[in-house]
C-alpha cells in the first residue's frame, strides 16, 4: 500500500517477493484492494506526519475498503507508520507517541516473539529472539493501564523489546495484534531484515513467510476478498 509519503513500500514489496509471493501495489486514492490475500501498510511519513502520525492517512479512500476487510479477517501488517495508521484507524488499540529521548532513533534491536498465533508470526517459535532495525521518532507505544492489562491477559502483545525499550514503549511493547490475530502492527522493520547483506540479519523474513504458510494451510486465499 502506498500513501503519499510512504517510504518503505519498495522494501515491503521486496520482502513479499523474497518470501515467495507476488507483491501487488495498492494506491491510497483507489477504493480497491485488487483482490489481494493480505495487505502491508509500510513505513514512512504519510502526509509528512506533520499532524499526528497516521492521522490523515486513516481517512484515505482505500481505508474505507481496508477497515471492514480487516475486521472480517484479511491479514494486515502495519510496520512503523503502518502501525501508527492502524492505531489511528482503531484496528489496533493504543497509540504511538514521541520517543522518550525526543530524538529519531535508528538502531538494530533484539525482539522477543511473544505470540506465535497471529497470521504474521506463526512461523516463529515462542520466545524466539529476532534482530531487526528500529527507525522512528514516534515509536513509544502508549495505552491506558486497562488496555495494557487486557493486551497482556489475552496474549495480544506480539513482540517485545528484549532489553529495555529504546523509545520508552509501555511494558516494552514493540508490536500488538487485534483479537482475531489477523491484524498486526509493530514499530521495528522486519522488511529491513530479510538478507544479512542489507540488514542486520534475515530474522524478519518470518513475518512474510508466516502469512503464506497460513494460506497454504487454509488451502486457498484465507481472507474475504
Amino acid at each position: 500500500m502506498t500513501f503519499p509519503g510512504s517510504l518503505d513500500d519498495t522494501d515491503a514489496a521486496r520482502a513479499v517477493r523474497n518470501a515467495g509471493a507476488e507483491p501487488v501495489p495498492l494506491w491510497h486514492a483507489d477504493r480497491d484492494l485488487r483482490g489481494v490475500d493480505a495487505v502491508i501498510l509500510p513505513g514512512g511519513f504519510s502526509y509528512g506526519d506533520y499532524l499526528r502520525c497516521g492521522a490523515i492517512a486513516r481517512f484515505s479512500p482505500v481505508m474505507a475498503e481496508l477497515v471492514p476487510a480487516a475486521r472480517s479477517g484479511l491479514p494486515v501488517l502495519g510496520i512503523c507508520n503502518g502501525f501508527q495508521i492502524l492505531c489511528e484507524a482503531h484496528l489496533l488499540p493504543g497509540a504511538l507517541t514521541r520517543n522518550a529521548g525526543l530524538r529519531f532513533i535508528t538502531r538494530d534491536v533484539r525482539l522477543t516473539v511473544a505470540n506465535t498465533d497471529t497470521a504474521w508470526t506463526s512461523g516463529y517459535a515462542s520466545g524466539q529472539q529476532l534482530l531487526i532495525p528500529l527507525k522512528s521518532g514516534e515509536g513509544a507505544y502508549a495505552a491506558d493501564p486497562a488496555t495494557l492489562d487486557e493486551l497482556d491477559r489475552a496474549g495480544r502483545v506480539v513482540v517485545r523489546y528484549a532489553s529495555s525499550a529504546p523509545n520508552g514503549s509501555a511494558r516494552g511493547i514493540a508490536g500488538v495484534c487485534n483479537e482475531a490475530g489477523n491484524v498486526v502492527g509493530l514499530m521495528p522493520h522486519p522488511e529491513h531484515a530479510i538478507d544479512p547483506l542489507t540488514g542486520p540479519s534475515g530474522d524478519g523474513l518470518g513475518f512474510f513467510t508466516s502469512v503464506l504458510q497460513a494460506f497454504a494451510g487454509a488451502g486457498s486465499a484465507g481472507a474475504d476478498k
Binding site: L7, D49, T106, K135, T198
Partner: protein, 751 residues
C-alpha cells in the same frame, strides 16, 4: 522601488537611484548591467542580476581556477559518452549511470541550523533529480567549532535534527559523511550535503528550453517570501564578528523545507520522465525562478516569455523582484511540448503536486517577464546566466613560512607503554575520533533496502542491481588542518583518503566531486589557497586517472577578518562489481593475520596527536603519494574479489593506533600485535597510502604474493582474537575500556 517599475519606466527615469549595493552588487557590476541593457535595470531585473551574479551562483571568483578540473582523455573515458553539457554523469556499466554532487549550505546552517541543514539536503536532491536520476542516498560532511563551545551546542544538534527531519521524511538513506571540530569553524560551520542518483543511460535529462511554443511549467510548492536573496545576501557575504546579532537579522533569507512535498516531487518527476513528458527540466535552488528561467533560456537557442502573475504565491503581496529572488523550496521548472501539457498536469495531480503553466519558449532570444500588464524584465538571458569573471589577486599567506617552520618535532612525546596507552585513549575519546552514533543514529540508513555499508564504515556502499549485485561506493573527506599547512598537498590528501576509503569496500574508484569551502575571495591569501587547492585536486585526479564530475564553491566562510582553514571536501564514487564481496573495517573472525599495508614515515604535521594533545598546528602535512594510493586500491579490490581478506580499514587521522582500535570495536574482537621501530611513530604517524587488513585464514601466502606484485609494503603485525587491544611489550587495553573512551564523548557533550 515602485512595484510597477516596468521597462518603459526604467528607460524614462535613468537617474532613479537603485539599491545595488544592498543586493550585493558592486558599482562596477551595476554599471555593466546598465551597459548591457542600454538603460537602468528595472527593480525586477536588478534583483535577477544580483542573484545570478552573486558569488554563489556565478562562480565569478573561482571560475578561472576551476577550468583546471576539465577531464583529460583517460578521465573522460569514465564519463557517459557523447553528452557535453552533462559531463557529470558516470558510466558504471550494465546500462547504468550514476550522478553525484556535493553542495554547501554553510551560511544558512549557522543562521538557522535546523532549516539551514534541512534545505541543504533538499537542494542537492533536486539537483540530482533534475539530471533524470532517481536519488538513492545522501551523505553529510559536517564541521563545527570546538565540541565543547557554547554555540556548538546550538548549531550541531540543530543541524543534525534538520538533516534527520528532512532526509528521513524524504526516504533517502544517509550512508555516511564526516563530523569534525576545529576552532576555525566556530562562526562558520560547514554543512556540506551530498546526493547520489542512479539512472539508465537513456534517461539523462537536459536543462535546456528548446522548441519555440513549448510551455514552461512551474510545479511543486508555492512561492513565498522565504529565502529571498539567499544566494546574494546570505551565501555570498561575510558575517561581522558580532555573530549572533547580524546572523539573526538574516534569518528571513533562510529557506524553510517541506520534505513531504519533496518526496511527492521526486516520485512525480520520475513518473513524468518515464512517460517522456518533459523536453527540459531545471530544479529551483539558489536564486529560484530567476535562475531557473535564465538558465533554461540560456541553455536553449531561443528566448522565453513568462507571466509572473501566473506564479502561484503563498503571499499575494510579493513584488516581481521578490518572486524572482524567493528561494522557496520544493519547486521544479519543466519545458513541456504543448501536446503533453494535459498529461503532464494529470500526473502532477495524481501526486498532489500543484503545476502551473507560467510561460513559453520563444525564438526572439530575449527573456521577457510581464506582471500586471507591464513588462518588468526584458534581457538577453545569457548575460545573466554567464555572469562576470574575475582574476582576483592572489598572495601566499604571510604566516605560511613561519607556520611550516614550526613542526611538532619538539613537543613532548609519550615515551613508555603507559604514556602511549594514555595517548591512544585521549585520541580515541577526542570529539574528532570518537564514535559518531549520537549523530548517525538519528538518520535512517536502511530505507530503500539497498544499503550494504553505512557509517561508521570507511565508505558507504549501495546495491544498484539486485540480480547482478552491481553497486556503488561513496566517501567524503577533508582535512582543514592539513590544508592550512599546505593547500596543494592537503587537497591531495583529502582526495587520497576518500579514494582509499572507497577502495576499502572493495570498489574501484571512478569519479570525484568536490565542495570547496574557503574564506573571502577578496582576500588575496584566500584566493591563493583556493588556487592551490584546485591545482592540487586537478593534478591528483589526473594522477589517479579519475575525472571530477562536478562540484560547488562556498566562499566568504569567515568571521570578520578570520577565515576558516581552507577546507576542500572531496567526494569519491567507486564501482563495486559484486557487493556481496564487500569488505568492512571490523575484526569479525578470530586468528586472522593482521597486516599493515604501506610505508610509515615520521609525519606529525597537522596530526590528531599534535592537535588533541598539544593544540599545535605547524610543520608540513604528510606527503601525498598518489601512485602508492592507486596501487593500494588495486591491491585491495583484487584481494576483495578473490576472497583473500576478512576486513580492511584505512589509516588516517590518529594513525595505526586509532585504526586498530576501530577495527576491534566494530568487530567486538581484540587483537595482539607488535609494532616495528619507534612505537610512537608506528602507532600515531599519519603517513598516507596505508591500510590495516585481516587476512582470510589459509590465504596468507597468496595475499603476501599479491602485495609484492603490486609493490605494496606488507608487514605482519599479529593476529585477531581475545578481548583486549594488545601491543606487545607496550600496552594492553580491555575492549570495554576502549569502548567507553570511544562511545562516551558525544553523548556527554550533547546529551
Amino acid at each position: 522601488m515602485s512595484d510597477k517599475d516596468t521597462v518603459e519606466v526604467a528607460a524614462a527615469t535613468p537617474e532613479q537611484p537603485q539599491p545595488f549595493a544592498e543586493l550585493g552588487l558592486t558599482a562596477g557590476e551595476y554599471a555593466k548591467i546598465r551597459d548591457i541593457l542600454g538603460r537602468r535595470p528595472t527593480a525586477a531585473e536588478l534583483a535577477l542580476y544580483s542573484v545570478m551574479w552573486s558569488e554563489h551562483c556565478s562562480y565569478k571568483s573561482s571560475k578561472v581556477h576551476l577550468k583546471r578540473l576539465a577531464p583529460n582523455e583517460e578521465q573522460a573515458r569514465k564519463l557517459l559518452a557523447g553528452i557535453g553539457a552533462n559531463a557529470g554523469v558516470v558510466d558504471i556499466g550494465r546500462g547504468y549511470a550514476v550522478t553525484f554532487k556535493i553542495e554547501s549550505h554553510n551560511h544558512p546552517s549557522f543562521v538557522e541550523p535546523h532549516q539551514g541543514a534541512a534545505t541543504g539536503v533538499g537542494g542537492i536532491v533536486r539537483d540530482i533529480l533534475a539530471m533524470g536520476a532517481r536519488p538513492v542516498a545522501v551523505m553529510d560532511a559536517l564541521r563545527f567549532g570546538p565540541a565543547d563551545a557554547h554555540d556548538t551546542a546550538r548549531v550541531l544538534p540543530g543541524v543534525v535534527s534538520g538533516i534527520s527531519f528532512y532526509g528521513n521524511c524524504l526516504g533517502l538513506p544517509n550512508i555516511g559523511g564526516e563530523l569534525a571540530f576545529d576552532p576555525c569553524y566556530a562562526g562558520n560551520p560547514l554543512v556540506n550535503a551530498l546526493c547520489v542518483g542512479v539512472m539508465r543511460h537513456e534517461d539523462l535529462k537536459a536543462a535546456v528550453a528548446t522548441g519555440p511554443g513549448n510551455k514552461v511549467v512551474l510545479f511543486g510548492s508555492r512561492t513565498g517570501p522565504d529565502g529571498v536573496g539567499g544566494a546574494s545576501v546570505l551565501a555570498s557575504a561575510t558575517f561581522g564578528d558580532d555573530g549572533d546579532g547580524k546572523a539573526r537579522a538574516k534569518r528571513p533569507s533562510v529557506q524553510v523545507g517541506d520534505p513531504f512535498m519533496e518526496k511527492l516531487l521526486v516520485e512525480c518527476c520520475l513518473e513524468l520522465y518515464a512517460a517522456e513528458l518533459i523536453e527540459g527540466i531545471q530544479d529551483l535552488g539558489a536564486a529560484g525562478i530567476a535562475c531557473a528561467t535564465t538558465e533554461l533560456a540560456a541553455g536553449g537557442e531561443g528566448g522565453m516569455r513568462v507571466t509572473l502573475d501566473d506564479v502561484p504565491l503563498r503571499d499575494p503581496s510579493l513584488t516581481p523582484a521578490e518572486i524572482l529572488m524567493s528561494e522557496s523550496q520544493e519547486r521544479m521548472m519543466a519545458v513541456v511540448a504543448p501536446g503533453n501539457v494535459a498529461e503532464f498536469l494529470r500526473v502532477c495531480a495524481k501526486w498532489d503536486v500543484e503545476a502551473t503553466v507560467i510561460g513559453e519558449v520563444t525564438s526572439d532570444g530575449t527573456l521577457t517577464m510581464t506582471w500586471r500588464g507591464g513588462t518588468v524584465v526584458s534581457i538577453p538571458p545569457r548575460t545573466a546566466a554567464d555572469g562576470p569573471v574575475y582574476q582576483r589577486p592572489m598572495a601566499r599567506p604571510a604566516d605560511l613560512d613561519s607556520l611550516q617552520a614550526a613542526p611538532p618535532d619538539s613537543l613532548d612525546r609519550p615515551k613508555d607503554g603507559p604514556a602511549l596507552r594514555a595517548t591512544l585513549l585521549a585520541l580515541l575519546g577526542s570529539a574528532d575520533e570518537a564514535d559518531k552514533s549520537w549523530v548517525t543514529a538519528q538518520y535512517d540508513h536502511y530505507v530503500r533496502g539497498n544499503t550494504v555499508l553505512a557509517m561508521p564504515e570507511d565508505g558507504g556502499l549501495l546495491r544498484v542491481d539486485e540480480q547482478t549485485r552491481l553497486g556503488i561506493a561513496l566517501a567524503t573527506d577533508g582535512n582543514g588542518r592539513y590544508c592550512r599547512l599546505d593547500p596543494y598537498d592537503g587537497t591531495q590528501l583529502a582526495l587520497s583518503e576518500a579514494y582509499r576509503n572507497v577502495a576499502m569496500t572493495g570498489a574501484t574508484p571512478a569519479a570525484v566531486t568536490n565542495c570547496l569551502n574557503f574564506g573571502s575571495p577578496e582576500d588575496p591569501q584566500v584566493m591563493w589557497q583556493l588556487a592551490e587547492a584546485v591545482r592540487g585536486l586537478a593534478d591528483g585526479c589526473a594522477a589517479l586517472g579519475i575525472p571530477v564530475t562536478g562540484g560547488n564553491v562556498s566562499l566568504y566562510n569567515q568571521t570578520g577578518d578570520n577565515a576558516i582553514h581552507p577546507t576542500p571536501v572531496i567526494g569519491v564514487l567507486g564501482v563495486h562489481d559484486d557487493v556481496s564481496r564487500r569488505l568492512a573495517a571490523g575484526f569479525t573472525i578470530d586468528a586472522a593475520q593482521v597486516v599493515l599495508l604501506g610505508a610509515t614515515r615520521e609525519e606529525f604535521g597537522g596530526s590528531a596527536w599534535a592537535h588533541v594533545i598539544h593544540q599545535h598546528l605547524g610543520g608540513r602535512p604528510p606527503a601525498p603519494d598518489l601512485d602508492a594510493e592507486r596501487r593500494l586500491a588495486t591491491l585491495i579490490t583484487t584481494a576483495a574479489s578473490d576472497g583473500l581478506l576478512a576486513s580492511a580499514h584505512d589509516l588516517s587521522t590518529g594513525g595505526l593506533a586509532i585504526a586498530l582500535a576501530e577495527s576491534c570495536l566494530r568487530g567486538a574482537r581484540g587483537c595482539r600485535v607488535s609494532v616495528p621501530g619507534d612505537p610512537f611513530t608506528a602507532l600515531f604517524s599519519e603517513s598516507a597510502a596505508r591500510a590495516v587488513v585481516a587476512v582470510t585464514p589459509g590465504r596468507e601466502d597468496e595475499f603476501a604474493r599479491l602485495c609484492a606484485a603490486h609493490g605494496i609494503p606488507a608487514m605482519v603485525l599479529g593476529e585477531t582474537g581475545g578481548d583486549t587491544l594488545t601491543v606487545e611489550a607496550t600496552f594492553e587495553v580491555p575492549l570495554p575500556e576502549l569502548r567507553q573512551a570511544w562511545e562516551g564523548t558525544l553523548p556527554a557533550l550533547f546529551g
